[in-house]
């Protein structure tokens, strides 16, 4: 049904999307919680900074990534020499680009879900000898689950559609960084490429569709598990 190169593009998109989601998960949940529950001087600034990748045209964070994480960049060289990881023009860079762009989505949904948790439940756990950290992972975190799930869906989806930062940071290299959006971009630029582009768009839609169905199923499970849905 799909050609080899289409499989390649699809597989790469899925890979980049999953990794980006994973990468965003922990820090996203942490910062979301921090913004919702803690008050500190620098909070508005921190929040604004965390939000930046969302507000800027994707090419700008893409460019900054290139400067910092590129083969000439400080961090890029650090990773290269110490961990032998390269980002520029590389699928790992595509993950990084998607993760940076989509990160605010995880933070904000996590924050919203914490805001809506009744603080008194955390206090109750506290009176049962649970340290703040235990309260966090045994009460706050599970109750954040719907938010974390929706956040993950948003991040994954945003990654699937990420174009600007990816092409700026890692270029359009078949098999390495050519995710669905980049493949579609390439296709629409060649004459008679419309058919290819339409195929790719259909693949993208179908793939997104099934990912969403799957995540919906998961969300329902989680809700039932949380005892949120009362008969």
């Amino acid at each position: 049904m799909l050609s080899e190169s289409e499989w390649q593009v699809l597989g790469l998109s899925a890979q980049v999307g999953c990794w980006a989601t994973l990468v965003c998960l922990l820090p996203g949940v942490f910062f979301g919680w921090l913004l919702a529950r803690k008050d500190f001087m620098a909070k508005p600034v921190l929040e604004a900074v965390l939000f930046m990748p969302m507000v800027l045209p994707p090419t700008v964070p893409g460019y900054l990534l290139l400067v910092v994480f590129g083969s000439q960049g400080v961090v890029g060289q650090f990773f290269k020499t110490h961990f032998d990881i390269e980002f520029a023009f590389n699928w790992k860079g595509a993950v990084l680009a998607s993760a940076v762009i989509a990160f605010p989505l995880m933070v904000q949904t996590a924050k919203l879900s914490v805001q809506m948790i009744d603080r008194r439940l955390e206090l109750a756990a506290n009176t049962l000898g649970a340290s703040p950290f235990k309260v966090w992972y045994s009460v706050t975190l599970p109750l954040m689950l719907p938010g974390i799930l929706i956040g993950s869906i948003l991040v994954f989806s945003r990654s699937l559609g990420e174009f600007g930062a990816t092409i700026t940071f890692v270029g359009n290299i078949a098999g390495e960084t050519r995710t669905l959006p980049l493949a579609i971009y390439s296709a629409t630029h060649q004459m008679g490429g419309d058919a290819i582009a339409i195929r790719l768009i259909v693949i993208c839609v179908a793939f997104a569709f099934f990912s969403l169905l799957l995540s919906n199923l998961l969300t329902r499970r989680a809700e039932r598990w949380l005892g949120v849905r009362r008969a």
Binding site: R120, L121, A124, T127, P132, G227, R230, A231
Partner: protein, 214 residues
């Protein structure tokens, strides 16, 4: 021995409490909104007094002047909330075991099965709190605090939603908690009959003050 000497202020409401409590069970009475739940929250460490200090068995829990503050999870004081506050994502069993698992096995003074039996919650263990009746929730909240085997147990109207038969079954249990495990209790209620059964030592919260009951 619980030594209370605190002042607390919130909007127009203020509470002044200066009492040493050493009775096995101390009853707290007071009109609706007089500050009984606030007092328990202060003892448990959920609220910080504006001034004063708190000492439990010689250990300072809080001393505003000396900036001593033991957080609630280190006080080892159990609190049965007036409105239950069961953890909605955990089963009844996990709610009951939540505090139980936070203490060392050697410190545990109640058997899980015994408490479950006494409170008649055996049939509910796998259910989620959202599916419990009012009285069932109250019993789980009570069991959860008791299984934590605290050094001091604060009870905020723990039997208000229970029928006569359950009340008569659980009341003697409070006496046993002290007799067998030496856990003192502070017991807030509006039901004089409960206090008559449990204790002769009573305090009352009136006009923002904690006073011996006249």
């Amino acid at each position: 021995m619980l030594e209370i000497d605190v002042e607390y202020q919130r909007d127009q409401f203020s509470l002044r409490a200066q009492q040493a409590i050493s009775a096995p069970i101390t009853g707290i009475l007071g009109a609706s909104g007089s500050g009984k739940s606030t007092l328990l929250a202060l003892i448990a460490g959920l609220l910080k007094p504006g001034r004063g200090q708190l000492r439990l068995n010689g250990k300072t829990l809080c001393d505003i002047q000396q900036r001593i503050w033991v957080p609630p999870y280190r006080r080892h004081i159990g609190l049965v909330f007036q409105d239950g506050q069961l953890l909605p994502h955990l089963s009844v069993r996990s709610n009951l075991l939540y505090g139980f698992n936070n203490i060392a096995p050697g410190q545990r003074r109640f058997a899980f099965g015994k408490v479950v039996e006494l409170l008649e919650v055996g049939a509910l263990l796998e259910r989620k709190p959202a599916t419990l009746s009012g009285g069932e929730k109250q019993r789980v909240a009570l069991g959860r605090a008791v299984l934590y085997s605290p050094e001091l147990l604060l009870l905020d109207e723990p039997l208000s939603a229970l029928d006569e038969r359950l009340k008569q079954q659980i009341l003697p249990f409070f006496l046993r908690i002290y007799a067998e495990c030496k856990i003192p209790m502070v017991y807030v209620t509006h039901a004089l009959s409960e206090l008559e059964f449990l204790t002769t030592h009573r305090l009352v919260v009136r006009d923002g003050h904690l006073l011996p009951d006249a």
